[in-house]
């Protein structure tokens, strides 16, 4: 009809100067592969508005969603990791991680109120060296446990970790024992410890404090395990069941008390604190 119709297509992108798009303007949901606009993600607590997939959440954002506005008072903020084993390249890695994530170490600890109830809240951050636990993470959490004992406060720990920090060797592993010991004392005092397992919670953290909660909650779809699935498969030489190491699987098999969506987490913690509150 028109001489216009039937134009040849196929032009290369090199013909055009692409516009600079800000990083993370759009994020791809791992679960449903949809593109999510950053504002939609932020306004929805970093949960995919299309499929409900829980995106990883940074520590301060996590705390903001948990405690009453303006009540968080961080402690041990300035604790910095020392390269105790003089592991090569570790110092550089720490600096890079700090720059990238905006925090000094993989856990933030402090006091906060949940619906008016004062607690000690710890939030691990997987964006700092995969949330790996080294001496400072162990020390900060131990001190948080000790503070909650001192002031007889309930303790809430959000776990997210790739395991023990390799660069600190046996010192990292020791943290498992240290934190667990503090938690034992905490328990003997009759105090409440709720831990929330978020994606991913693995290795030494799972094998210590993550599984010691009086009540263990988990976010939907979170990967929770100790060894990686491939290693397990090769060791037992069997196919792994469907949903292996997911929060829901663990709930079904008694390792997690309740899978709670991010939207309901604050409400759920409040209910638990009320029931166990005493005063």
């Amino acid at each position: 009809m028109f001489k216009f119709f039937g134009k040849q297509k196929n032009f290369s992108s090199s013909q055009f100067k692409q516009k600079e798009v800000p990083d993370k303007l759009y994020n791809k949901c791992e679960s449903c592969s949809e593109m999510v606009y950053y504002q939609d993600l932020e306004q929805n607590k970093h949960v995919c508005p299309k499929c409900g997939h829980h995106f990883p959440l940074k520590a301060y954002a996590r705390i903001e969603l948990t405690v009453d506005f303006g009540t968080f008072r961080e402690f041990n903020k300035l604790m910095k990791t020392k390269n105790v084993l003089e592991f090569p390249g570790y110092v550089d890695k720490l600096e890079k991680a700090a720059k990238q994530s905006g925090i000094k170490e993989a856990v933030i600890t402090g006091y906060g109120d949940i619906h008016g109830k004062r607690c000690v809240v710890c939030a691990m951050d997987s964006s700092f060296m995969m949330g790996s636990m080294g001496s400072i993470v162990g020390e900060k959490i131990t001190r948080a446990v000790e503070k909650s004992m001192k002031h007889r406060l309930p303790l809430v720990i959000y776990c997210a970790s790739g395991g023990a920090r390799m660069q600190e060797g046996i010192v990292s592993l020791m943290q498992m024992a240290k934190v667990s010991a503090a938690l034992k004392k905490h328990s003997e005092m009759g105090l409440l410890y709720v831990c929330v397992l978020t994606h991913p919670t693995t290795g030494g953290v799972t094998a210590s404090f993550a599984m010691l909660g009086d009540i263990i909650l988990a976010e939907p779809g979170a990967l929770i395990g100790f060894a990686g699935p491939r290693v397990i498969k090769q060791t037992i030489r069997q196919e792994l069941p469907e949903g292996f190491q997911s929060a829901e699987f663990l709930q079904d098999h008694g390792f997690v008390d309740k899978v709670v969506s991010r939207n309901d987490m604050r409400k759920t913690l409040h209910r638990i604190l009320k029931i166990h509150g005493g005063e």
Partner: protein, 448 residues
């Protein structure tokens, strides 16, 4: 002052054609986006580049921010013109353009946001000294407040949705007894249609005329109006015939309303083209209704009587140019009328009519302008609004313009589908229309 090399037109149909033409006249490369249902559309054919962005459903294509932004970013466009409807008043889209370094040809996302919330717009206008219809101070929070407001302003009142449009979330209330029930209904409808149940109340003016003012403002604080348009010829709240200028308002009213329109635009630091809508009652009081922060369908009527190309002005303003027209320079010459020709079946309650254009003959001649995306053999897609073309006539006075329109409509041939042309002709021959004595109920009355 940036120079635009390439502009993306985030729209379709006649307005996309209009914008593409304006860009070509300014030596700007054009990028069209189209849905699979629009692959044989004129706007895609005319543009320098055309990219398919989704299936026919508007949600998947013309309202799909991701795909449109991706197209714009990948083709390195300097600016996006959103046309009217679709994303033109989507503040998030405007913001996204800003974030990607693309200029949105329209106002800032904040201005869009504020005017998009009817209740906020009302309050802003009130505080700026622009007359608004008597009503609630902001949103209605509870029944007690509603009753107080209703008592104060007197029945009938109209409940309106704050995020509303298209007549949804509106209820006219005549008695106290109905108030509570209708508020609940309006809130539910608003929640379903707009995801927001906020409502406010205004006095309902039973007989009124819709008169709007065209605004043009640059990014340097210069704001002018290009006078008025009469848009009372509406069927079910859809405009059918528009005129510039209004034959009803006096010159004194014109001056006052024009000043109010400029005040309204300045209050929100507006830039680009926009329209301030007023309602005029039988006592010649005028009230602000809402502001449309985009170019409108009926913009050609203003172009014909002022000689100013609004699309080109929008582009110039967007790239940072100062307005070269002063208020004193704007003069209305003659009278123009626009008839919207829609694919509607007059014998079937004006239900949308589908089909392929088999024969097409468009009128022409001195003072006749046709804006359309039609061509012979064009198959009308079913997903979009039914407007086929706009016929705009200019005459030295209103009588001549009407006469030209009658001649043009007689000459118009659009075969293959049903159109509303016969109704348009009826209106144009009606003595009340010729005498200029009509209000927004006119069309609904004559079709019974």
């Amino acid at each position: 002052m940036t120079h635009f090399n390439r502009v993306l037109i985030a729209n379709r149909g006649e307005i996309a054609v209009r914008i593409i033409r304006a860009c070509k006249e300014m030596n700007i490369e054009t990028v069209a986006v189209y849905s699979t249902a629009d692959k044989d559309s004129l706007h895609a054919a005319l543009a320098d580049y055309a990219i398919c962005i989704g299936t026919g459903s508007p949600k998947d294509s013309y309202l799909n921010l991701e795909r449109i932004m991706s197209t714009a970013v990948t083709l390195g466009v300097d600016a996006i013109h959103p046309g009217y409807g679709f994303l033109s008043e989507n503040s998030r889209f405007a913001k996204m353009c800003e974030e990607c370094g693309i200029i949105f040809i329209g106002p800032d996302s904040d201005a869009i946001l504020n005017m998009g919330n009817k209740s906020i717009a009302r309050e802003l206008m009130k505080s700026s000294g622009v007359p608004v219809i008597p009503g609630s101070d902001g949103l209605i929070h509870d029944m007690d407040q509603a009753l107080v407001v209703a008592k104060e302003i007197g029945f009938p009142v109209i409940i309106k949705a704050s995020m509303g449009g298209g007549g949804k979330g509106m209820r006219i209330v005549n008695t106290f007894e109905d108030l509570s029930r209708f508020i609940d209904q309006a809130k539910n409808e608003a929640q379903n249609a707009f995801g927001d149940s906020s409502i406010y109340i205004e006095k309902y003016i039973t007989e009124s005329r819709h008169v709007e003012f065209q605004i043009l403002a640059d990014k340097h604080g210069n704001t002018i109006h290009l006078f008025d348009r009469e848009c009372s010829i509406q069927r079910n709240n859809q405009k059918m015939i528009e005129e510039a200028p209004s034959s009803y308002i006096s010159d004194v009213m014109r001056k006052n309303m024009g000043d109010s329109a400029v005040l309204a635009a300045k209050a929100i630091e507006y830039n680009s083209a926009g329209t301030v809508e007023f309602l005029v009652d039988n006592d010649n009081n005028y009230y602000f209704i809402e502001m449309n922060t985009r170019i409108q369908v009926e913009h050609p009527t203003t172009e014909m009587v002022t000689g100013i190309d609004l699309i080109k002005e929008q582009i110039k303003i967007a790239r940072g140019d100062k307005l070269t027209i002063n208020q004193e320079d704007v003069i209305i010459r003659g009278h123009s009328i626009e008839c919207r020709i829609n694919a509607e079946d007059p014998d079937n309650h004006f239900a949308p009519s589908a089909g392929t254009i088999t024969d097409l003959h468009l009128p022409g001649g001195n003072g006749i302008r046709v804006d359309t995306h039609l061509y012979p053999g064009y198959k009308i897609p079913v997903y979009y609004d039914s407007m086929l073309c706009k016929i705009i006539c200019w005459g030295n006075d209103r009588a001549e313009a009407i006469q030209k329109m009658k001649v043009a409509l007689d000459e118009l041939v659009v075969s293959g589908i049903k159109t509303n042309t016969s109704l348009q002709k009826r209106i144009l021959s009606h003595p009340d229309f010729l005498a200029g004595e009509f209000n927004t109920n006119f069309v609904n009355k004559i079709i019974g």
